[in-house]
């Protein structure tokens, strides 16, 4: 009997495919949004975790000013660091393995007729140590080049590919903005970061070269620090904070005017942004499912009216009220569950495309899919019940006369 009811529902739905499709569109969109968001969210969480593992839980980032959300953020002038701070951190903090200054600028790199907009980072060989980044071909910066501020550079894999293609870049000269410099090495490929940015889209030059020729000052924007093996990140955080407060003459009770984050904090911050976004979009999806449910209720009410005589005939030949109720309820459930199936398919499609664009792994989650599907079927139960009850309560004589 239930199988008969199911077949009947499917027949009724397919009798008017366009109308059925438009009816479930709300459910399709709602489910697709949930599936796409959760799938991409999970993918990017996995990506962040993988990044943290790759960059090393040992890496810390020291930057001027306080990282704050909400009012007051970005206000006031931030006191930068200088190269002396980098050396003092290495010399005076036992828990620190190494530290490196960095400054960034976005510039056009030119080789021959080829132009390519990229990020130029001024730093030194300690940066490659701190971030565990090998030089794939050629060599890293020589100490003499760093201290003299020589115009030499290391290319990220993406920049090498854009400017040189198959050719060997080592020893060639490229132009970075107004500065000409010689390529001495190519960095190993790192892939995309948690932010979706391409980490290989970079040119490294010695920090002093960057300060003199590009930034126009020796201020250090960000200091990368790696923690010595055998010391905890917390210990290093305390030590570095104490040193920086002393160096920057911050009195007791005054707030830090710098911030020190480790990669795990960056990861959890990213993940919490992720969670908030997923939550917001899930709310949108819930509204869409609600609207979809109302659409289903509406069309089921129309259907009950249109099929009043059919209901009368069924009752005359012996259908009980419960069987009529079940018939229309199953029809609403099948309708919204079909919407759920379409929604899952569409959502996975969007997630696959989105994952590709955002450079995160595509990791469909069977639990989420099952949940979304169950939810859409439930929409059918909730919103199908009222019309189904109306059908079941029809008087057979009135219905037959319709």
């Amino acid at each position: 009997m239930l199988w008969e009811t199911f077949k009947l529902a499917l027949q009724a739905i397919l009798r008017n495919p366009t109308r059925s499709f438009l009816t479930v569109l709300g459910v399709v969109i709602g489910v697709a949004a949930v599936i796409a968001m959760v799938t991409i969210g999970k993918g990017s969480t996995a990506q962040v975790t993988a990044d943290v593992e790759r960059m090393g839980a040992n890496l810390m980032i020291l930057s001027p000013g306080q990282m704050r959300f909400g009012p007051g953020s970005g206000g006031g002038s931030e006191r930068a660091f200088d190269l002396g701070d980098v050396d003092r951190i290495i010399d005076q903090v036992a828990s620190v393995e190494t530290a490196a200054p960095s400054g960034n600028a976005s510039l056009v790199a030119v080789f021959g007729n080829t132009n390519y907009q990229t990020r130029v980072t001024g730093t030194d060989s300690r940066y490659l140590l701190a971030t565990d980044w090998p030089v794939a071909t050629g060599r890293g910066f020589a100490t003499a080049e760093e201290s003299a501020g020589k115009p030499v550079c290391l290319l990220g894999e993406t920049v090498r590919d854009e400017l040189f293609g198959q050719a060997d870049p080592i020893g060639e000269r490229i132009r970075l903005g107004a500065m000409s410099c010689q390529v001495i090495g190519v960095l190993g490929a790192k892939g995309a970061s948690s932010f979706g940015t391409d980490q290989d889209d970079v040119v490294l030059i010695p920090f002093k070269t960057f300060g003199r020729r590009i930034a126009g000052s020796m201020d250090v924007g960000t200091i990368y620090i790696s923690v010595r093996d055998g010391y905890s990140v917390d210990r290093a955080t305390n030590d570095i904070t104490a040193l920086m407060r002393e160096l920057r003459r911050i009195g007791p009770g005054e707030e830090d005017d710098f911030s020190l984050r480790n990669m795990e904090q960056v990861a959890s911050m990213l993940n919490s942004v992720n969670t908030v976004l997923t939550g917001l979009l899930s709310a949108v999806a819930a509204v869409s499912l609600l609207v979809g449910g109302i659409g289903i209720m509406n069309i089921m009410l129309v259907s009950v009216t249109e099929r009043t005589r059919e209901i009368g005939i069924r009752m005359a030949v012996g259908a009980q009220a419960g069987q009529v109720l079940l018939q229309f309820l199953v029809e609403a459930i099948v309708l919204s569950a079909l919407g759920g199936v379409l929604g899952v398919a569409l959502g996975l499609g969007l997630a696959a495309v989105g994952a590709q664009l955002l450079n995160v792994p595509f990791t469909p989650d069977p639990g989420t899919i099952a949940l979304a599907f169950a939810f859409s079927a439930m929409v059918g139960v909730v919103f199908g019940y009222f019309p189904a009850r109306r059908a079941a309560r029809l008087d057979p004589i009135e219905a037959l006369r319709h």
């Binding site: 009997m1 008969e4 009798r15 005589r309 059919e310 009368g312 005939i313 069924r314 009752m315 005359a316 030949v317 012996g318 259908a319 009980q320 009220a321 419960g322 069987q323 057979p396 004589i397 037959l400």
Partner: protein, 234 residues
Amino acid sequence: MATPPIIEFRDVARVYGTGAAEVRALDGVSLSVEPGEFVAVMGPSGSGKSTAMNVMGCLDRPTSGHYLFNGIEVGALTQDQRALLRRHYLGFIFQGYNLLARTTALQNVELPLIYKGLGRAEREAAALAALDKVGLAHRAHHDPSELSGGQQQRVAIARALATGPQVVLADEPTGNLDTKRSVEIMDLLQALNRDDGLTIVMVTHEEDMAAYARRLIWMVDGNVQSDRPTKGAG
């Protein structure tokens, strides 16, 4: 008596509305129908024929009085219990055929069998047998829209017969048909009554059709005015 009548009305009234708007569609009807009878019901429009059929068919309940179906007090039954009586013991034939559109003749005849809980194969066999009985086995896979009025009514008769009911109630079964088709339908009903012992109660406006029955009940203003054998009876 050994067995009670299939249908027994004792002072049955069916009243619509109240006060000034009150309509006494049935006003104290008493009658009974025994197994194997073929009864025609006639009377002027509005005399309560259809109302009586609805009560007999357990689609409706008397406002007062007693309706006993096989000795069972129908007025005391729930809606679901009355649905079970219709499912197992009653068949309906309507003036307007009342077939499901965009549904083949076979599926239409199978409909009551679904509610009777028959499996697919059994159901198809029973439905085909019923269609064969009304001479329409060759049209089993046609939709009602592809059938003539007479053929549609024969499908409806097959549907009423398929469950093997005790009584078939027909409200103006030939009302929409020309004389030739009407005669075909009446021949069919008469054969079912004569050969299979099927009990039939039929409302009609036409003397010629009533003549196929063996008993004629004449109704006026919600009352039975006369109840006698037809000329054709014997």
